[in-house]
């Protein structure tokens, strides 16, 4: 039997598993191929939902489903915590002591959020990149009565690169609705010399910020948080007092990938076209865990899964994996409580943000529900 093992049941791992099961259904039925998906969490979470949880617009349960319900029945699901990958013997090791042999391995392990990487942040900061973080932030947002809110992007790259813009713009709209916009200063900080890593998005967002009275400070690389004084200090020597700090913490791929020699500097070096892990035979990566110069966004993992499924099938059939991912990315950007824009781009085609509208916001809300079909590989 040809053993295909997928690590991670996020959007990349799940869509890939479902596509592979569809491509290889006859071979799986005959016992020639086995697809096993390993995850340490039997629940799948739609992470963009955290933004809505933080603003109290939706409950967390809306954004969660059992992984098993989302997978093709031909995929074997194992709830295991992976501790390492042995690339020489081609085995995956788990905390329970089990070993999973593989002929092909796919790393779809996503990204971890590391608030502890910035001194003082875990004590005094808030974030919305985890469910617990979003729930804690919701309480803080409910309690805002005035003062200064700082939205600080600490780590680049991070999941959903437009989410810091979204949280800033939605907060501004919410405070206006509450009639307290004049009492609250919103300050946005970013590590490089513009407010977003993509120049066209930065240009659009800077104008949006200016028209809505949102201050920004660029070339601000957060160094530490003083939890006693409520001050965010930068490497560049700036100190910003805050009443509420919404931080985008450092991110990294799964720690065992570094230990297994598959990740370096936080991410897995991956071929931008085929999605093969550099220097490895029959090992692939997709989604947030790669070092590719694309957004760490669900749409990226989704589009990559289409390409990677074909390359995994080609490899199984003894053909050259020739399908190429072109950097395709699509992101909605919520610009308030009832408006949004979107960007679509690729390696060679930069994004051009559209004029925000209610219609695009509604399209985003519809997508939040159709996602559950999307992740099943229906489209």
């Amino acid at each position: 039997m040809h053993r295909i093992v997928i690590l991670g049941a996020g959007v990349g791992g799940s869509v890939l598993a479902n596509h592979l099961a569809e491509h290889l259904k006859e071979e799986i039925a005959s016992g020639a191929v086995g697809i096993t998906l390993l995850t340490d969490n039997p629940e799948h979470t739609y992470k963009p939902g955290f933004l809505y949880v933080a603003f109290g617009k939706d409950e967390a349960r809306v954004f969660r489903r059992p992984v098993r319900e989302l997978l093709n029945p031909l995929v074997t699901l194992e709830t295991e915590t992976v501790t390492g990958v042995d690339t020489k013997t081609r085995h995956v090791h788990t905390q329970s002591g089990r070993r999973f042999a593989f002929d092909q391995l796919v790393l779809a392990t996503g990204a971890r959020v590391l608030p502890q990487a910035t001194p003082g942040l875990a004590e005094r900061g808030n974030w919305f990149y985890t469910l617990e973080g979003a729930l804690a932030l919701r309480q803080k947002i409910d309690q805002i009565e005035g003062g200064r809110v700082v939205v600080s992007v600490i780590g680049i790259p991070h999941m959903c690169p437009v989410a810091p813009l979204e949280v800033t713009l939605i907060l501004e709209d919410l405070l206006r609705l509450r009639g307290m916009r004049e009492k609250v200063e919103i300050l946005y900080t970013y590590p490089i010399n513009r407010v977003h890593s993509i120049p066209s998005v930065a240009e659009w967002a800077a104008k949006e910020f200016e028209s809505r009275g949102i201050r920004s400070e660029t070339f601000f690389n957060a160094d530490h948080v003083d939890p006693e004084k409520n001050v965010l200090a930068s490497l560049e020597g700036t100190e910003i007092p805050f009443d509420l700090l919404i931080a985008i913490p450092e991110h990294r791929s799964a720690s065992y990938l570094e230990d297994s020699g598959l990740a370096k500097g936080g991410w897995v070096a991956t071929d931008r076209g085929t999605l093969a892990v550099n220097g490895q035979e029959g090992i692939w990566a997709l989604g947030d865990t790669t070092d590719l110069p694309v957004s760490k966004a669900g749409s990226v993992a989704h589009y990559q899964a289409f390409v990677l499924a074909r390359n995994v099938v080609c490899t199984f059939r003894g053909r050259k994996p020739a399908f190429q991912y072109d950097g395709k990315t699509m992101c909605f950007i919520e610009t308030g409580l009832d408006s949004a824009t979107f960007i679509e781009f690729s390696y060679l085609r930069p994004p051009r943000p559209q004029r925000p509208s209610k219609m695009i916001h509604w399209a985003k809300l519809v997508y939040n529900n159709t996602y559950w079909l999307n992740v099943r590989g229906v489209f």
Binding site: P157, N193, F219, G237, G265, P293
Partner: protein, 79 residues
């Protein structure tokens, strides 16, 4: 003559903007005052971003050596 021993040599070729700058910042964060970090980039944006950031933070841009389409930036942490 100041010590030009490179504490860390970062190869950020293939990393798109702002990857090389972020990798340089990460390297300098873990360096001690006086130490030198070098980053190799083939992203055209680095030619603007890296010198601007070094000036903003007040570190020393010891060298910017361009060979073909890639530049090696050598930066000393001065404070």
């Amino acid at each position: 003559m100041p010590d030009l021993t490179i504490k860390q040599e970062i190869d950020a070729r293939g990393s798109a903007c702002p990857g090389p700058l972020m990798e340089l910042i990460r390297g300098l964060k873990s360096a001690s005052v006086g130490e030198v970090v070098a980053v190799l980039s083939n992203d055209p944006g680095s030619n603007k971003d890296i010198p601007e950031w070094v000036q903003k933070i007040g570190y020393e841009l010891v060298a910017a050596e361009t060979t073909g389409n890639q530049t090696r930036f050598v930066v000393r942490k001065t404070k």
